[in-house]
């Protein structure tokens, strides 16, 4: 066994560090309100406008926007451990990076798309010119994704789509929906779903904001009223969407904001060191120490799950329950971290960032709200536990 990085990995880690130092604005990490694991502030990257565009552009130039892609499609051709290092460092600096198009759309098109589709979409995705939003969930289709009802009917060379999608994160600042629709209502639920790319500007698409409990517009509900889409936008074969969708889940196992947990934890620890109560630093109080130590231990454990998955993938092993465990552990850590931060700050924790009395830019206060979404999005904790129980432990379904 060896728990250290290889020389090559160390050099790569330094390259990423240097890149971030050079390319990210100096006050970025302070200003960015992202809470590790949360979805509530994701679309706020857009608030930074040109800064994000510029950074994304530089990432694309280095092939790091599509870091998991093979070299032939403009990827970086790196090992999984190197990708893990990349994601760890980037999330530590709260840097913007992969999206739905680079993380899910692109890789799926590579594997199942036609040559024409690859030519049309991949180069633009790799350059960061096209952003997708994920159109899977519907008002009555959450965890039970295969029950989706949004319908696409063939009409000559087109599909005509009718229905409603919900929780479209950043749909309002994206270009196209990466969308699952029902194309065969007579088939069993899993066998009548297709994947299709739908332009946001198509007539009949209405995007309405949903304001989340952080007070931000990150989600949308999107209505499709007789939306006409050319059949060439269907990804792979008709009615195989469910299979593609499951395969896509495998692509992004390492896109976990693992570094964000460490970063935020370090900031809370610094606050505890610098804040005195009755002449004694908070960090010297046994009860505070106890709480912080608990979090430190859990972050270490989460990191071990993370590196372990990268190691497995490089070995050619297939992480199965490991991915669910990592999702479960890190998202629950997201809540524990927020709660511990709030407890350390006490009264001050609840003051929002517009006040001179707030601390850490009100980051923890916002995180306390945002962390709710971590255990819900991308498969709830219950679904992760079901996967662990049924797929991992072989427990019966009924």
């Amino acid at each position: 066994m060896d728990f250290t990085f290889s020389e090559r990995e160390k050099a790569f880690r330094k390259e990423v560090e240097d890149f971030v130092d050079e390319e990210l604005p100096a006050d970025w990490v302070e200003k960015n309100i992202y809470w590790p694991g949360g979805y509530g502030t994701l679309a706020q990257f857009e608030e930074f406008g040109p800064q994000v565009e510029q950074f994304t552009c530089r990432l694309a130039e280095k092939g790091w926007l599509t870091i998991s892609w093979p070299k032939e499609y403009g990827g970086a051709g790196l090992s999984h451990m190197e990708q893990a290092i990349f994601h760890e460092r980037m999330s530590y600096h709260r840097a913007p990076g992969a999206g739905i198009a680079t993380g899910i759309g692109g890789p799926t098109i590579m594997r199942v798309g036609s040559e024409e589709m690859k030519k049309e979409w991949l180069p633009r995705i790799a350059k960061g010119e096209i952003r997708f939003w994920l159109a899977y969930s519907e008002p009555n289709t959450g965890s039970d994704l295969a029950s989706m009802q949004t319908r696409a009917v063939e009409d000559g060379d087109d599909l005509i789509i009718n229905g409603q999608k919900i929780w479209g994160t950043a749909a309002h600042v994206s270009h196209c929906a990466w969308m699952a629709v029902r194309t065969d209502p007579t088939a069993p639920p899993h066998k009548g779903i297709s994947l299709v790319i739908v332009n946001n500007t198509s007539p009949g698409v209405t995007i309405r904001p949903l304001i989340n409990i952080c007070g931000f517009h990150s989600f949308n509900e999107v209505f499709f009223d007789n939306v006409r889409v050319p059949k060439k936008n269907v990804v792979g074969e008709m009615n195989k969407g469910w299979y593609y969708l499951m395969v896509a889940l495998d692509f992004e196992r390492l896109v976990i904001p693992i570094g964000g947990f460490r970063r935020t934890f370090e900031e809370i620890v610094r606050y505890a060191r610098e804040t005195k109560h009755n002449g004694q630093a908070l960090s010297q109080q046994p009860l505070i120490q106890n709480k912080l130590v608990n979090i430190a231990i859990q972050i270490e454990i989460a990191y071990m799950f993370f590196w372990h998955i990268a190691w497995m993938l490089d070995k050619g092993l297939v992480p199965n329950i490991e991915a669910s465990v990592l999702k479960l552990v890190t998202t629950e850590l997201s809540q524990k971290l927020a709660n511990t931060g709030m407890q350390v700050m006490g009264h001050y924790g609840q003051v929002e960032n517009i006040s001179k009395w707030s601390c850490l830019q009100g980051r923890v206060c916002l995180g306390y709200l945002d962390c709710i979404s971590a255990l819900v999005g991308a498969g709830t904790s219950e679904i992760q536990r079901n996967i662990i129980a049924m797929r991992g432990l072989g427990l019966p379904r009924k």
Binding site: L210, I211, I213, Q350, S355, W357, I372
Partner: protein, 377 residues
């Protein structure tokens, strides 16, 4: 033993639930949360007509002679409906302090006005150290020409923004014992030099920074005796802590009720999600937490109501209930899934309150330390 509520208390509970559901719908709760005042004078007057503000005052002060346990019942319902406004600060923090330690003259002057809904009170205790210990009271009051002049900054003061009078806890003497030399002043909120800044907080409860800049208060407005105010503060803190627990029990019950109803209605995989063990276990955990919290809260409230020593019981109630409310609202959020993460849904109102309630009057660690001390550790 009799662990049930009296017939009158059951009636009070039922009528409070009905009244609040009718008069304070969630639409109004949100509206008040977003407003600067944080309360509706129309609703405030209706509450006064119900006799709520005077519930625990003797009849001669315009009250209805109820006891602290009656107030606990009412507060649980206020927590259930997440009633915004200055009831807590006016009746629990202000009214009970005047009732316990005020002079006959002060009681006659202020309590009937509180009971009638005319006067709103606030207690300015905590300062930028955010501590509930006597040593943290740094705001100074100096005697001058038969008056006192107050200087200092109070922080996290509930409802000071709408208060007519602020009970200001100030230091009037420096001694080795920090509990000696503290005096409570009843300051007119409109006095020159009182500056109130509203904080925007997680729970949208109206917490303020109150700056006293050479504020003069007449000697007759001292509650209790000069320099001997700390035991009064301790007493009101104990009552307030139990009162907050009662609100939390109500809030946790509401979160549980909402989540269970939703689990019965929400269909996924062709059946109500409540039929899944994962959700069932969440609900079971919530019930356990809510029931446990109610038992220990009412035990502590009963002791306070009877005037029995209650230090340990109150600390245990606050430790457990504070953490349980957090757990319950978090599980409720988990059951509601994505829809609960929207501003339009009600559950986040409870989740926000849970944290504010956990913090105020000493969080679980603060309370655990009291328990440890009382256990002789």
């Amino acid at each position: 033993m009799d662990l049930g509520l009296s017939e009158e208390q059951e009636m009070l509970k039922a009528s409070a639930r009905d009244f609040l559901q009718k008069e304070c719908p969630k639409r109004l709760v949100r509206q008040l949360d977003e407003s600067d005042e944080g309360y509706s004078s129309e609703l405030w007057q209706k509450m006064a007509k119900q006799g709520w503000m005077g519930l625990v005052f003797p009849e001669k002060y315009g009250g209805s002679d109820g006891n602290f346990l009656d107030l606990t019942v009412l507060l649980e319902e206020m927590g259930y409906n997440i009633l915004p406004g200055p009831f807590f600060s006016t009746v629990v923090l202000g009214g009970l302090t005047i009732l316990a330690a005020g002079s006959e003259e002060q009681k006659t002057e202020f309590l009937p006005k509180v009971a009638s809904g005319e006067t709103i009170l606030s207690l300015a205790l905590t300062e930028p150290t955010a501590s509930y210990e006597a040593a943290s009271v740094k705001t100074k009051a100096i005697a001058r020409n038969g008056e006192y002049v107050i200087n200092g900054t109070k922080l996290f003061v509930l409802n000071a923004n709408v208060a007519d009078y602020i009970l200001c806890v100030a230091r009037t003497k420096e001694t080795k014992n920090p509990e000696d030399g503290i005096t409570i002043f009843l300051a007119d909120a409109k006095s020159p030099g009182v500056k109130c800044n509203l904080l925007k907080t997680l729970a949208r409860d109206k917490q303020c920074e109150v700056i006293f800049d050479n504020v003069t208060v007449p000697k007759k407005n001292i509650i209790g005796k000069p320099d001997e105010g700390w035991p009064i503060v301790k007493d009101v803190l104990q009552k307030a802590t139990v009162a907050k627990c009662a609100e939390m029990v109500g809030g946790a019950q509401a979160a549980l009720d909402m989540a269970v109803n939703y689990a019965k209605e929400r269909v996924q995989f062709g059946r109500p999600i409540g039929s899944f063990q994962a959700i069932q276990h969440h609900c079971a955990n919530m019930v356990t937490d809510v029931s446990g919290s109610r038992f220990i809260t009412y035990k502590a409230a009963w002791k306070v109501s009877e005037g029995l020593p209650a230090t340990t019981d109150v600390a245990i109630a606050k430790t457990w209930t504070g953490e349980a409310y957090g757990r319950v609202t978090l599980l409720a959020h988990q059951i509601f899934g994505a829809i609960g993460f929207t501003m339009d849904h009600d559950i986040h109102l409870y989740y926000r309150q849970a944290k504010a309630a956990e913090i105020i009057f000493g969080d679980a660690d603060f309370q655990r330390a009291i328990v440890a001390r009382e256990l002789g550790l």
